[in-house]
Amino acid sequence: MDRRTIFGGRLLPIAFVLPQLLVTFLFFLLPAGKAIYGSFTRTDAFGLHTRFIGFANFVSLLDDAGYRAAFGRTAIFCALVTLLAMASALLFAVFADHEIRGRAIYRTLLIWPYAVAPAVSAVLWVFVMHPEVGIVGRELGRLGIHWDYTVNGAQALGLVIVASAWTQVSYNFVFYLAGLQSIPSSVIEAARMDGAGGFRRFRTIVLPLLMPTTFFLLIVNLVYAAFDTFGTIMALTRGGPGQATVTLVVKVYRDGVVNLDLAGSSAQSVILMLIVIGLTAVQFRFLGRRTIS
């Protein structure tokens, strides 16, 4: 990262990096340090004595069946959101890459949902799927299906998965379309001459060439599903009914902000940090790319 031509002066560059460093230190490193400190200590009920207890907070966390259940639930949630959001984006991108009339309009109409806030998309889904008010939800009831995501945990989880994937499709669509457009048409043409049919061309040529995009999107989508779906879940179900839609991030919020279990939520924060660090490391190691934050 070194240039030959550089400017002299020391105070000016320090003044330039200072704002960013201050924000980083005060609002990122300091809280992260506090979380790590909190995860290894326990404070008595009056907040008078804090003592170091080693890994005890982590041990009790891993002993907690509720936490283990949230871990498994988050894994399933992330896998399904990622699969749904990536598969539908790939489908739309493949067809939007065809030379058809109005494709610029189609693209715009598939890209705008990127702008919809996750929390707001959840509110949209309420009006579609609410058991009494929702335009689809109430019809399910009339058809004799017991649809009520406010009491049925499996239905709630399903709805939260669909709503979370819905918001992420546009993002994936942009990347898959860019990936498809970078495949030289001569490659596809050659396969056509060899007599490979449409689906076979897709499976044996297009899909392998899209692997870097797919792998990159896989990491981005997992991070999105794990961390950015808090608003969607809170607006749709608040983690309920019971614990049915509690993901790890919702649990940190519930335990920390609502139930004020500081030691437990600090330990949870540290585990989440390790997960983000792991995913970011994988991304950089294999791709040299990064996510937006």
Partner: protein, 279 residues
């Protein structure tokens, strides 16, 4: 040459378009209908155009009897937050990338890696301690608290760094021969060459700022600082005797329109920029 119409493509794409447009059309249509009728399960896909006034009344008076704030206030807070975050991130990232690429100073690489680390510390993983830090600084329930802690950006810094590294040394030499100091070089050279990147970043960061939910929920409990996203989610759990469904839907439309307009108006920069930011 006569070209066949590609029916499967049109079919799939129309299906996709409908999948996204349908819920938004539904809330737009629902906003113009009677709350009582919606409550009885009579929500319809056909808007009642004589009731478009609902949007104006939500803007000016909010959800009335429930004691909420007018939506224009929430929109102003959202816009203020989105603009401050987008512009703030662009400015401080541009400056730090400039310092790291074009100057030599003690702990230059340490500074760079410190900024880089923020990539691994999203708000979601440090909810409680961040709240504690904010409380120590008396930043809870303030507009500064809503925006300043979010303006660090490793992504934007890395992007500007790449752009700056790609500028040929000859160009920098020439500018210095002409007597350009560091400040003039920044304004006359770096800002113009990176303007397309800034436009792309602006769209992405504006949407990021506008769509925040966890952060305002955490640090701003004062209803006067409610963003439109916070306001609408609160309304869904309002516990009303008669839920004001139509008002909620009108607010949802108001929350969606501004960021969608920004993305669509700047689509070209956005699409190209997204790919660059991620590279």
């Amino acid at each position: 040459m006569h070209r066949r119409i590609d029916w499967p493509a049109h079919l799939v794409l129309l299906l996709g378009v409908a999948l996204f447009a349908f819920p938004v059309w539904l809330v737009f249509a629902g906003a113009t209908q009677d709350a009582g009728a919606i409550n009885r399960g009579d929500l319809s896909l056909i808007p009642d155009f004589s009731h478009l006034g609902i949007f104006l009344s939500v803007l000016l008076h909010g959800y009335g009897e429930a004691g909420g704030h007018p939506a224009w206030r929430m929109l102003m807070i959202s816009a203020g937050m989105a603009l401050s975050i987008a512009i703030g991130k662009i400015v401080i990232s541009m400056l730090s990338a400039y310092a790291v690429v074009f100057f030599r100073f003690p702990f230059r690489m340490a500074a760079f890696w410190t900024i880089f680390i923020t990539l691994m510390l999203p708000v979601e993983v440090r909810i409680i301690p961040t709240y504690a830090v904010m409380a120590d600084f008396h930043m809870i329930d303030s507009f500064a608290g809503l925006t300043v802690p979010l303006i660090a950006s490793a992504t934007a810094t890395l992007l500007f760094r790449q752009v700056y590294l790609a500028i040929p040394d000859e160009l920098v030499e020439a500018a210095r021969m002409d007597g350009a100091g560091p400040i003039r070089f920044l304004f006359d050279m770096l800002i113009p060459v990176s303007s397309a990147n800034m436009a792309a970043l602006f769209v992405i960061l504006f949407v990021y700022g506008w769509n925040q939910y966890l952060w305002p929920l955490l640090v701003a409990t004062d209803p006067r600082l409610d963003t439109i996203v916070i306001g609408i989610v609160q309304l869904t759990f309002g516990g009303f005797t008669l839920t004001p469904w139509n008002t909620m839907m009108a607010m949802a439309v108001l929350a969606i329109v501004p960021p969608v307009v920004v993305v669509m108006a700047m689509q070209r920069w956005f699409v190209r920029g997204l790919a660059e930011v991620e590279k």
